[in-house]
């Protein structure tokens, strides 16, 4: 064997060794994953409030920490469907629309009632009959506006069309629940409904000269307010209050057509490796302590646990869950089949 062959052989051995080292580098990371809980939340004020309130409470209750990932409900659902057998998350937070789709696609597991005693404190219609999900919160939306730059309190969605708001209105992509429910609210205000959305799209078309920016998600819409890029938009109360706490002069006004309401669920993912931890997580989210803290400033998340009273600022909007039934709601079963079509139509409309 010549010396040159010897050289090659050594090099090959070296590469083999390096490869083995490389592989072993990867495995500790894979191993660690099952010892904590992988949960999702929504970007923006949701993430903030859950990191501050829910995660520490869960840590205390279960002794394990949770890894929180911010992801829009639609994106989370996509990831669950794409990796059914080996889901990246153990417990997820969903908006109503994707929640219904998730049930249809079979990506959720029943919540074990024995491990989640707080389920008993929820109104019956807030728990899925098959136990595939539970509503953990409700969120109110209205007209958010910059109090320094918008002198008169806006009263109706039609106010956004006024010429004084040229280039100052913010929109959010229909990929988000906020965008979609607002479109439905607009349609209903203008005589349409979930199946007849044309009035809403016409409204957007007329709104275009006033549109200053389109945000990717509600969190991003908040930063637009923060940077002064937009002065008026449809937004959630928790995001608005969170901005206020940061010193941004913003407030939420009630539109003539009434507040709108959005509900969120938590679900255990099918094939998760940490079902018990996931159940404990949901139990913590439904607990009186956590929900109580979430209702107060600056998050104003409406509770679903009947034992939690509607606190100070929230009381200005509603006194209990019954009050909220008159708020604008969305029948997601009718929206879901055409959602992709609406998203595409919206994108084409707003394109510069």
């Amino acid at each position: 064997m010549s010396l040159i062959d010897h050289q090659r052989r050594k090099l090959l051995q070296l590469m083999g060794a390096a490869g083995a080292v490389g592989l072993s580098l990867g495995s500790p990371l894979a191993m660690a994953a099952s010892e904590s809980l992988a949960a999702t939340t929504f970007p923006g004020a949701w993430e903030e409030s859950q990191r501050k309130i829910l995660l520490p409470a869960f840590r205390k209750a279960a002794g394990v920490s949770a890894v929180l990932t911010a992801s829009q409900a639609v994106d989370t659902l996509t990831k669950l469907v794409a990796a059914r057998n080996n889901p990246p998350f153990d417990v997820v937070m969903m908006d109503e629309g994707p929640y219904l789709q998730g049930i249809a696609q079979g990506v959720f597991e029943p919540i074990p009632a024995a491990r989640v005693p707080n389920l008993a404190n929820l109104p019956a219609h807030f728990v899925d009959p098959k136990g595939l999900g539970a509503y953990v919160s409700a969120q109110v939306y209205g007209i958010a506006y910059n109090t320094e730059r918008v002198k008169t309190t806006p009263k109706s969605w039609n106010d956004l069309l006024k010429p004084e708001f040229k280039g100052r209105v913010g929109l959010v992509s229909l990929d988000s629940t906020l965008g979609t429910v607002w479109m439905v609210a607009l349609a209903k205000m203008l005589g349409g409904d979930e199946d007849h959305m044309d009035p809403a799209f016409d409204y957007i078309k007329r709104l275009m000269p006033n549109v200053g920016a389109v945000a990717a998600n509600p969190g991003a819409l908040g930063t637009l307010f923060q940077q002064g890029q937009v002065d008026i938009a449809c937004h959630y109360i928790n995001n608005v209050e969170s901005l206020k706490a940061k010193g941004v002069p913003v407030a939420l006004a009630r539109p003539d057509s009434n507040w709108g309401i959005v509900r969120s669920t938590m679900n255990i993912v099918k094939n998760t490796q940490a079902a018990d931890l996931a159940a404990a997580y949901i139990n913590t989210a439904l607990s009186v302590e956590v929900q109580q803290q979430m209702t107060s400033a600056p998050y104003y998340v409406a509770p679903t646990n009947t034992k939690v009273p509607f606190g100070a600022a929230l009381a200005a909007i509603a006194h209990n869950a019954n009050d909220m039934t008159s708020f604008v709601q969305v029948d997601w079963a009718r929206i879901n089949p055409r959602r992709a079509e609406y998203i595409d139509r919206f994108n084409r409309l707003v394109k510069v």
């Binding site: 010549s2 010396l3 040159i4 010897h6 050289q7 050594k10 090099l11 070296l14 590469m15 390096a18 490869g19 080292v21 490389g22 580098l25 990867g26 990371l29 894979a30 994953a33 992988a38 970007p43 923006g44 993430e47 903030e48 890894v67 929180l68 990932t69 911010a70 992801s71 990831k79 794409a82 990796a83 057998n85 080996n86 990246p88 998350f89 990717a216 998600n217 969190g219 991003a220 908040g222 930063t223 923060q226 940077q227 940061k246 010193g247 941004v248």
Partner: protein, 282 residues
């Protein structure tokens, strides 16, 4: 890279005035100044913003304070986790890519055959094709194999991204090695492995190191591949920073950026000292 021996040493231009010399120098100077300002300005602005005492990205900042750096170090475990993940990924990808690419570079370096040139273009492909397309393709590959996304899917994409850099710089280094050295070493009785270890490798080390450094920085910075290929529960730092900037405008993003800038500057200066990094670009 040795300068061409034909280039004359810099000669002072003739004293006789050239028409238009003043205007030419003025324009070039002005535009060049603007260019340099554009190059370095944004980086400085981020550094200044990171020490703002306020909550938003107002510039100039209302006051100065280091509390965002404190928030970053003490109050942001998720950012630190992502930083560690990015470092681990970049290190692993660079290590694997270096081994693979050096072997290939040594073989392909001096050949001009069609096969060699074809392979060379193939290996350089990740530099030109949008990494999105590559990310999408690898994602589809993993989905078809029903292998879920994990650290490995991410690693695979990043190795493909890193390899061209190391290959390029190593080939360049190898091409500059004086063939007479190799021949004389063999003539004097040294074996192949000895020649490689004592004569070739030392000459290659600056090239390999520079390439590995550039590859590391590119892997650390890459967003497109990571968007498609990362396991949904772990996020690499650039993507997390992007989410912070887009979703909450938390000024901690500026602090994190400040840390990254300083780290990049220091490591760049070190690499310049040790391996003559800038020579790879000139």
């Amino acid at each position: 890279m040795a300068k061409s021996t034909l280039a004359a040493p810099r000669v002072v231009p003739a004293r006789r005035a050239q028409p238009g010399r003043l205007s030419f120098n003025a324009v070039m100077g002005l535009m060049g100044g603007i260019g340099l300002l554009m190059l370095i300005g944004p980086t400085l602005i981020v550094l200044v913003t990171s020490v703002t005492s306020g909550y938003s990205l107002k510039f100039p900042p209302p006051g100065l304070s280091l509390h965002w750096y404190e928030a970053l170090i003490f109050d942001s475990p998720e950012i630190i986790d992502d930083l560690l993940l990015s470092l681990k990924l970049a290190a692993a990808a660079t290590a694997c890519a270096t081994v693979l690419a050096v072997a290939a570079a040594v073989t392909l370096a001096r050949r001009r055959t069609f096969a060699a040139r074809l392979l060379d273009s193939f290996f350089m492909a990740p530099l030109t094709i949008p990494s999105l397309a590559l990310g999408l393709g690898i994602l589809i590959l993993f989905n078809l194999e029903s292998a879920g996304l994990s650290f490995y899917s991410l690693l695979a994409g990043h190795i493909a991204l890193c390899a061209p850099y190391v290959l390029y710089t190593t080939s360049a280094s190898y091409a500059q090695l004086d063939p007479a050295l190799l021949d004389s070493s063999t003539c004097l009785g040294a074996g192949g492995w000895f020649t490689f270890r004592r004569v070739v490798l030392p000459g290659l080390v600056p090239g390999i190191a520079s390439g590995a450094f550039i590859a590391f920085m590119n892997s650390f910075d890459n967003v497109a591949l990571s968007l498609f290929l990362s396991d949904a529960r772990s996020e690499v730092l650039p993507i997390h920073l992007w989410h912070i900037i887009e979703d909450s405008l938390d000024v901690r993003a500026a602090a994190a950026s400040g840390v990254l800038i300083v780290a990049t500057l220091i490591s760049m200066l070190v690499m310049e000292r040790l391996a003559g990094l800038s020579r790879q670009f000139r």
